[in-house]
Every structure is written in structure tokens, then in C-alpha cells.
Amino acid sequence: MTPDMELALSARAENIAVVRYALGGLGEAFAVPEPKLSDIRLAVTEACANVVVHAYPDGHYGPMEVVASKDEEALTVLVRDWGRGIGPRPDSPGLGLGLSLIAALADSVQLGHDDIEHTEVRMTFLLGGSQTSTNTLPGTSTVPGTGALQSSGALQGTGSLPGPGGRLT
């Protein structure tokens, strides 16, 4: 399926603003309600900030891609990079809230990498109708409006990822 939008930039802090602005255009075109669009912008901003801060060694600006696809029910936004992957980082310069925030804002989140080793954060946002979580894993408690944080196989065992209601499987 061809995505509706692919935006490729270098992983620089200033480019996060470009992504946010482009998402505003996406929201306008798809008539996404403003509260939902704010959630989408914030979650994607966090994912992009993670790429800028963590994906590449200091002083290196590798690629960052934002891919958005919409179907009748949901908008899926994929943020990917060619960096060193997602893992524990004791010396992290941030507060460590990024993935938790993403999990709280998106209806589902998947972490992993694709066939050619891009690190990916895939966020799905339900549009219209029910805004409850798509988290249906057996034994998983569901918090309405709170996304499920999932990891693809490649990232299993890379460490715990905190999330208020989200979970790493």
C-alpha cells in the first residue's frame, strides 16, 4: 500500500518543526479533529525527538523519515531512522518520557525494525468513532484512550520501556 505521505529529512532538531507543520497540513486535508491532531503531533514529535537525540552518534545527522497512511478508521504514522536502534541508555540526556508519552497518546504503538534495518516507531491513531485502545492482548488491562506499546520480535529483550498503561510485549 502506497502511503499518503513520506517525508524524509535529516535528523536535526529544527526539522522536527517541519514534521509538525506538515502534520498540520495532513490534519487539514483529512479533517482530523483538532484534539486528535494535537495528540498526533505530540506523539510524532516525541518519536522524531527520539531519533534526533538517540538514533545517531553526537554530531552526526542521519536520515529521519515520517510516513503517514490513512484508511477509513485510522491514521498510521511511522517514524524511522537508520540509527543504532532502540535500547536502554543510562546516559540519556532526556527525561525518558518519550515512549511513555507516545504510548499514552496513540491507540497502538509498535517498535521494531523493517526488512532493511530501519528502526521504526509505528503509531496508530483511531479517527472518529470509538477512541478506545486497540489493545486486545490476552491478560492486558485496557485503559480507555491509552495505547498499547508493543515491540516487534527484533527488539524483544532490549530492556523495559516505561509506559503509563502501555506495555512492552
Binding site: 502506497t2 502511503p3 499518503d4 505521505m5 513520506e6 517525508l7 524524509a8 529529512l9 535529516s10 529544527e14 526539522n15 518543526a17 517541519v18 507543520y21 506538515a22 498540520g24 497540513g25 495532513l26 487539514e28 486535508a29 483529512f30 545527522y61 542521519g62 536520515p63 529521519m64 523519515e65 537508520w82
Partner: protein, 165 residues
């Protein structure tokens, strides 16, 4: 690499054209070395035919030019050109999507349109004709040219803009 000129904004404005005749903003060989994503004040946007084209392309281009400190009148002109491109590009696309490469510098910017059919670049420029106003693309861009696409892809429409007249 061969370049087919499609004209420029004002035939009398030879000085500006000559000023742009030096190294292009994006050297094709450099682009090849860069890998999958643009560096610096560059962006690549691939858009599916649909309602996204105008609002997203306009926003990305305006953001890149504003960051390069372009004056408001040229930003406005660039927006007009983006509207023309997004309105007509998909009628000349080789597939469902069209790619726009933006490279914005302080004085010059280059916008490349990729994913067009063999005659798509020429057709796209011709379609940007407005009554009274004339051809929007040719009036706004300092240089309009068609270059062969990389990796056997279709031709690229290359639009060079300047920050100041």
C-alpha cells in the same frame, strides 16, 4: 547529464540566469552519495494523489524557505508555485505518487519534481498557465529545466528559485 531548458521567468533577466548557471544547489553526484535522506536544509516529500498534496507541500516548502530567511514576497510566490505543482503534477505522474525534493539555501532554492511520465515535466509546466497572469511556474522560477532521472526513472522537473529578484 543533459539539461533541457524550458525557459525562465524573464528573458531580459539574463544576469540572474547567469548567476544560477554555476553549480546547482544540489549536485546530482552529491545526492547519490547522501543516501536515502536529504542533509542540511533539504527535504524529500512523496505524496499520494489526493487532498494532501497542496497543504503538505506548501507547508514543507514554506518552512524550509522561512528557515533559510527568505523574504515574505518570495515565500508567497513559492507558495503559489507549490499550489500549481500540486494541482497539476498528478495528471503527469508515472504512478500514484509524486516526489518533491526541496533544497533551500539562503540565496537560492531548488525544487525537483520526480515520478513524472516521459513528457510529464513539459506537460506540468504547460498546465500551470493562468489567464492574464501567464505561466505561474515560469514566472516565479528563475530557471525551469528537465533533467534525466536517476536510476532509470522518468525525467525530473527542476525549478530554481532565488531569494531576491
Amino acid at each position: 547529464m543533459t539539461t533541457e531548458s524550458l525557459g525562465h521567468a524573464d528573458p531580459a533577466d539574463q544576469l540572474q540566469q547567469e548567476a544560477l548557471a554555476g553549480p546547482t544547489v544540489t549536485d546530482p553526484d552529491e545526492r547519490e552519495r547522501e543516501g536515502p535522506a536529504p542533509a542540511g536544509n533539504r527535504a524529500r516529500v512523496r505524496l499520494l494523489d489526493g487532498p494532501l498534496a497542496a497543504p503538505v507541500l506548501g507547508r514543507v516548502v514554506s518552512m524550509m524557505l522561512a528557515r533559510a530567511d527568505w523574504p515574505l514576497d518570495r515565500l508567497d510566490a513559492a507558495m503559489l508555485m507549490c499550489d500549481a505543482l500540486s494541482a497539476h503534477a498528478f495528471a503527469h505522474a508515472g504512478g500514484a505518487s509524486v516526489t518533491f525534493n526541496i533544497d533551500a539555501g539562503e540565496h537560492e532554492a531548488e525544487l525537483r519534481v520526480l515520478g513524472l511520465t516521459d513528457n510529464g515535466a513539459n506537460g506540468l509546466v504547460k498546465d500551470a498557465m493562468l489567464p492574464v497572469v501567464g505561466n505561474v511556474i515560469e514566472r516565479i522560477a528563475e530557471r525551469v529545466s528537465v533533467e534525466p532521472g536517476m536510476h532509470g526513472e522518468g525525467p525530473e522537473l527542476v525549478l530554481a528559485l532565488r531569494a531576491r529578484y
